[in-house]
């Protein structure tokens, strides 16, 4: 709604909000993958793969948190660039993009909540 006065198209802002939702969702997804510690062969698990501090020297002693936040940040930036290129100069149904972003953020909150993500902890 632009109140009858010309304003800039809302596509770029919709792209930014959607990207923030995607970053939050991917963060939650990484938390779950680390918690599940899925065996990928030998000593390698989804948890050891996410230890970017050990694998790539991203921070010293940070552990799997380094990979979780690095991947979430990359997802945020990359999805923003893609969405921005797709939506620039366009007037979109902003409510739809905002709803999608809020749902993704809400899922991100849920997946990073310990009583929830601990449900995915391997038994034994």
């Amino acid at each position: 709604m632009s109140n009858g006065v010309e304003t800039k198209p809302n596509g770029p802002v919709a792209a930014a909000f959607l990207a923030a939702g995607i970053g939050s969702f991917v963060l939650g997804l990484m938390v779950i993958l680390a918690e599940m510690a899925i065996n990928l062969g030998g000593e390698t698990t989804t948890r050891t793969i996410l230890d970017f501090s050990k694998n790539y020297g991203l921070g010293s002693g940070v552990g799997p948190l380094s990979g979780k936040v690095a991947i979430a940040t990359i997802a945020f930036v990359v999805s923003w660039v893609i969405a921005h290129l797709a939506l620039r100069g366009k007037e979109v149904n902003f409510g739809r993009y905002l709803a999608a972003a809020v749902i993704l953020v809400a899922i991100g909150f849920l997946l990073t909540f310990p009583p929830f993500f601990l449900l995915f902890e391997p038994s034994g």
Partner: protein, 187 residues
């Protein structure tokens, strides 16, 4: 080892992370949210909008920058000290003075304090990272529209929703950071 007067290096960075950046985030959020809330055509003259918009932009940009600095210092400087593993010879089942140098293990050594790590720290270290994503989108929206934001009611409302969610994420992390530091300080 004293780093800045009587403050150790670890205490210094914990203060920067929790108190300095945390306080700045709260200030920027408060100012920014009030600015967006009252950005209504019926409340403001053209001069009022022109006067207020740069301050609103500064508030939201500061909020985003501070959110990033807070999670980066927290994750890559303070957190490794918190989760450091004690050397062989220190009993990990006893909350001794030696184990107090290793806050994560000190908390886990007693059932009465274990939940500070198992719930508090596990939540804080993850949920905090949602705040910079949301705050960056907010700052971008305000920078992109500038003076026009007052004519885009749906964007203004979305900005307030995202600012509130960013505040909730940072607030939960900040609250647990303070409580965990009280239970087992990184020092």
């Amino acid at each position: 080892m004293p780093f800045f007067g009587e403050i150790t290096e670890r205490e210094f960075w914990t203060l920067i992370h929790g108190m300095v950046l945390g306080a700045l985030f709260l200030l920027a959020f408060g100012g920014g949210f009030a600015g967006v809330w009252s950005l209504k055509q019926r409340l403001l003259t053209t001069e009022g909008v022109e006067e207020r918009t740069p301050r609103l932009l500064a508030g939201t940009v500061i909020m985003a920058v501070v959110a990033w600095l807070t999670v980066i210092t927290g994750t890559f400087l303070v957190y490794p000290w918190y989760r450091a593993t004690p050397p062989e010879g220190i009993d990990r089942a006893l909350q001794s003075e030696a184990l107090a140098e290793f806050p994560r293990f000190w908390l886990l050594a007693n059932e009465a304090t274990a939940n500070w790590h198992e719930f508090g720290m596990e939540w804080k270290e993850h949920v905090a990272w949602i705040a910079p994503f949301l705050a960056t989108a907010v700052a971008f929206a305000v920078a992109y529209y500038g003076l026009q934001l007052i004519r885009r009611e749906e964007i203004r409302r979305a900005v307030m929703v995202f600012m509130t969610l960013a505040f909730l994420a940072a607030g939960a992390a900040g609250l647990y950071g303070a409580l965990i530091t009280k239970a087992a300080a990184v020092g």
